[in-house]
């Protein structure tokens, strides 16, 4: 284990603290005009809300078009709280943040199980409703008149002092967001953004992480809004309209969607530019039309934003230090219970409308054996695997893993219960290096590898060494050949310490040398006591590694047993090669 990573982290943190302190002191001491101070307060408070979008859109890949509504919750809580209810600023801010958090969690919980366009539309609708309520619930919100006479915290009455406070809060939150991507939560978010299905199978509770990202984003919106209200002493509904949500999103995209630095750049630019181009504001709609056009152009030509572009250019100056010392031997500890059957499949069916893709299949995979599931194209192999790993809900039947019924468990829980899998079409997290892909596979509850980041790295290195790719651990995963990407997927599954490994056509697309390597790898995995269920079309590979074979055809099991016996059965031969002269009834 190298010591350079934590060392660099400490250096980075110290540099950040120095910069932040410099910024706070600078805005506190420099002789600023009122106008400039207001611009800066607006930038700092908006940036906090834009950090929220960095989390939900940049890290987690989920859209939020209601950030102005959450911003409004914070602003109205501070406004109504301090002006009408005479609450302390901090109490009102906590209330506003709390309301935003709860509303964000509620919206996320109702919508995030579904596709992303639901989320986009629901957040737009929510935004419209909040505006309706702000305008029409006059007894409480004062309607279109807005809320005036908003108070600041007792110690920060002057605009100068309040500005210093805003910059300080922004710096603290910015630090958290800066460090978030390398934490377990942030890594889960990025995995979901890159490949949601693979994230679930790698052991991430996708739904919970998405709701957390959304709620965190809403909370930051609320906090930003609270400081905005304190800075300007007056708020009205038009400041929290859908148009403002679009402004927030443009800020995020322009600066760079996945980094708080980008968020700050985008926010500052879109606050300062319209101020200096005031003539744009004289024509209503013009500057928003330009924002709309900018969104289209950024997405098309510079989806990484300004800071993403800079980072890309700087990347070669920051090559990660190579690891010192050899990787450890990979230890695999399959489930300790002594049930002779690792996987029991009982009368499993999966129907899509009228199509019976999997029709009443039963088979058992014995502990420590390599078991192959074969059949012609369209016979239901991959569907079976998808039902086994929880991606599809079964129509009927039961799945028992190491003596435990897992039929009702979501994918991540099956992973925790000892299931690992790879995909037919490779599903890696494409924005990450190989090592981080494997770390995500190692990082789930129930995987007893010791605590701390160092243990995770050790585990991931060991898994990569086991498949022979440890030397290239820190390279981006997109730079690996097709065959090597398959091996990284296997390493990701192994790092999670499964009792049962499901492999979906691991030999597809490999050349003969790679296939021999794969065969040896499978034998080494089996020698560690793992049970393997493999789907493949390569009969040489299947006969070389599999002890037992189950054959599917048209969704039904047509044979099951010891490999050599099964391959001699006439109907298996018929399913693969056809018979003459009377072909089997395919109805």
């Amino acid at each position: 284990m190298t010591s350079s990573l934590p060392a660099r982290r400490v250096t980075g943190t110290l540099a950040y603290i120095a910069l932040a302190a410099l910024a706070v002191v600078a805005v506190g001491l420099l002789p600023l005009t009122d106008y400039m101070m207001h611009i800066l307060v607006q930038t700092a408070s908006y940036a906090i809300a834009v950090f929220g979008l960095t989390v939900v859109l940049g890290l987690c890949g989920q859209i939020n078009l209601a950030q102005a509504a959450f911003f409004g919750f914070g602003a109205y809580a501070v406004g109504l709280g301090t002006a009408d209810l005479h609450l302390n600023f901090w109490v009102a801010l906590a209330l506003g943040g709390g309301v935003a958090l709860v509303m964000g969690a509620f919206l996320g919980m109702t919508t995030l199980r579904l596709g992303g366009h639901y989320l986009a539309m629901v957040t737009i609708s929510f935004q419209q409703i909040v505006t309706l309520v702000m305008v029409n619930w006059i007894p409480v919100t004062h309607g279109p008149d807005g809320v005036g006479n908003i108070q600041r915290p007792p110690m920060f009455q002057s605009t100068h002092a309040f500005l210093g406070l805003c910059v300080l809060v922004m710096a603290v939150i910015g630090y958290v967001i800066w460090r978030l991507p390398r934490t377990p939560l942030g890594r889960s978010m990025r995995a979901i953004r890159d490949n949601e299905l693979a994230a679930g199978v790698a052991g991430i509770n996708v739904y919970r992480v998405k709701v957390a990202a959304f709620a965190l984003s809403a909370l930051l919106g609320g906090i930003g809004g609270g400081f905005f209200a304190g800075g300007f002493a007056y708020v009205s509904p038009d400041q929290f309209s859908f148009a403002e949500s679009i402004v927030f999103m443009t800020m995020t995209l322009l600066g760079g969607v996945a980094s708080p630095v980008g968020a700050l750049i985008g926010t500052a630019l879109l606050i300062v530019l319209p101020e200096s181009l005031r003539f744009l504001k004289s024509v209503p709609g013009l500057y928003l039309a330009i924002y709309g056009l900018s969104i289209i152009l950024i997405i098309r030509y510079r989806p990484e934003g300004i800071w993403g572009f800079v980072q890309h250019r700087m990347r070669r100056w920051f090559v990660p230090a190579p690891f010192l010392g050899a990787a450890l031997e990979l230890t695999l500890v399959p489930s300790k219970d002594d049930a002779p059957i690792a996987l029991g499949v009982h009368h499993l069916s999966k129907h899509f409308g009228g199509l019976k893709a999997v029709d009443d299949i039963s088979f058992s995979v014995r502990r420590g054996e390599v078991h192959a599931l074969i059949g012609p194209n369209g016979s239901g192999k991959t569907t079976t695997l998808n039902v086994l790993s929880g991606i599809y809900a079964e129509t009927s039947g039961r799945i028992v893993l190491c003596g435990r019924d897992v039929t009702r468990l979501p994918p991540y829980a099956r992973t925790a219960a000892g299931m690992g899998r790879t995909f037919q079409n490779i599903r890696l997290f494409r924005s990450m290096p190989a090592l981080e892909n494997v770390i995500i596979g190692a990082e789930h509850p129930g995987n007893d590898i010791g605590s701390g980041h160092a243990a995770l790295v050790e585990r991931a290195r060991a898994a990569l060494a086991f498949v022979g790719l440890e030397a290239r651990a820190q390279e981006p995963v997109t730079g690996f050949s097709y065959g090597h990407q398959r091996l990284i997927e296997i390493a990701r599954a192994l790092a999670g310490n499964p009792s049962l490994l499901l492999l979906d056509e691991p030999a597809a697309g490999l050349n003969s040398t790679e296939k021999q390597g794969l065969r040896d790898l499978l034998r080494r995995i089996a020698a560690k006591g793992l049970t393997i269920l493999i789907i493949d079309h390569d009969m040489t590979l299947v006969t070389e590694v599999a002890e037992r074979i189950t054959v599917l055809n048209f969704g039904r099991r047509i044979a099951d047993g010891v490999a050599a016996d099964v391959l001699r059965q006439p109907d298996v031969i018929a399913a693969y090669l056809g018979t003459e002269p009377d072909a089997p009834d395919r109805a």
Partner: protein, 291 residues
């Protein structure tokens, strides 16, 4: 009872507009797997084009209508080439964001050109309506229902009984396979966008005399139409139409018996209710991503 019948009529009329826009949503979704967030702006632009030709240039209604539709076809084509087509091989999030950008661009460009005051477009008929027993049938509502019925019928005939319609369906179900069979996929996608822009434009033009022609009409209609597609079942043509009609009725009754200012909120409540209790909608099937 008379009031109920009257409200039912009005609700179905408004619902027919939602259904038309929802149909545009569904067609683009089925062809490209993308929700076009500028679908509502198509309606808004259609209505403004009608104002340009019929009010500003004082052309006869019929010619204005034809001219507005030509403008919409052009808009659909430009939209496809400028917004969707360059991003067709990217994941769905960039495409969604780009269509949102397009929606903002369209509505605010019109705002910059026409200002925030709503425009007025008179109805198509001299006679305002007919009295049928206790119910007063407004002629514009009758027109909307009639046109919607004709378009839905046309849509069914076109997609189920013409070769071009079958090609469009093939494209929407499997682009690669369609291309291998010699179907010009790019042209089919282009056609889908033009057709959806036309549907959206017709909806906007029809509803213009009832609502005012305003910048906000696009987003309002789009949200209702989207809610309609979810209620009916996402990606389902029949569902979009029934969802649209149902939403129009719910909203009209809600405004009459509960609250007028919050009229636009009922769609959201119904939407959230469906998302929680029946996310696949009335006709839809729950779809999972393929592994």
């Amino acid at each position: 009872m008379d009031l109920v019948l009257q409200l039912l009529f009005t609700g179905l009329g408004i619902g027919a507009v939602y259904a038309l826009v929802a149909l545009g949503f569904v067609l683009i979704f089925r062809a490209t797997n993308v929700v076009n967030f500028a679908q509502g702006e198509f309606s808004m632009v259609g209505a403004y084009l009608m104002v340009v030709f019929a009010v500003d240039l004082r052309w006869p209604y019929g010619w204005s209508f034809v001219a507005a539709l030509c403008g919409m076809a052009l808009l659909g084509a430009i939209f496809n080439l400028g917004v969707y087509y360059p991003l067709r091989n990217r994941s769905f999030l960039p495409v969604i964001i780009a269509t949102i950008g397009a929606s903002i661009f369209l509505s605010n460009t019109v705002l910059a050109l026409y200002g925030p005051q709503p425009q007025v477009l008179s109805g198509w008929f001299e006679t305002p309506g007919i009295q049928l027993g206790p119910v007063y049938l407004d002629s514009q509502y009758l027109l909307i229902m009639g046109v919607t019925l004709v378009l839905v019928g046309f849509n069914f005939w076109f997609f189920e009984h013409t070769l071009l319609g079958k090609k469009l369906q093939a494209t929407s179900q499997d682009k690669e396979m369609a291309a291998l069979l010699g179907i010009p996929v790019a042209a089919m996608i282009m056609l889908t966008f033009v057709y959806s822009a036309l549907l959206g434009g017709v909806a906007g033009i029809l509803v213009a005399p009832i609502l005012f022609v305003s910048i906000q009409m696009g987003s309002t209609i789009a949200l209702k139409a989207f809610a309609a597609t979810i209620i009916g079942g996402f990606g389902d043509v029949k569902g979009a139409i029934i969802g649209g009609l149902a939403l129009g009725v719910i909203e009209t009754f809600g405004a009459a018996y509960i609250s007028v200012p919050y009229k636009d909120g009922f769609a959201f409540l119904v939407l959230v209710g469906f998302l929680i209790f029946r996310p696949q909608g009335i006709f839809g099937e729950r779809v999972a991503e393929k592994a």
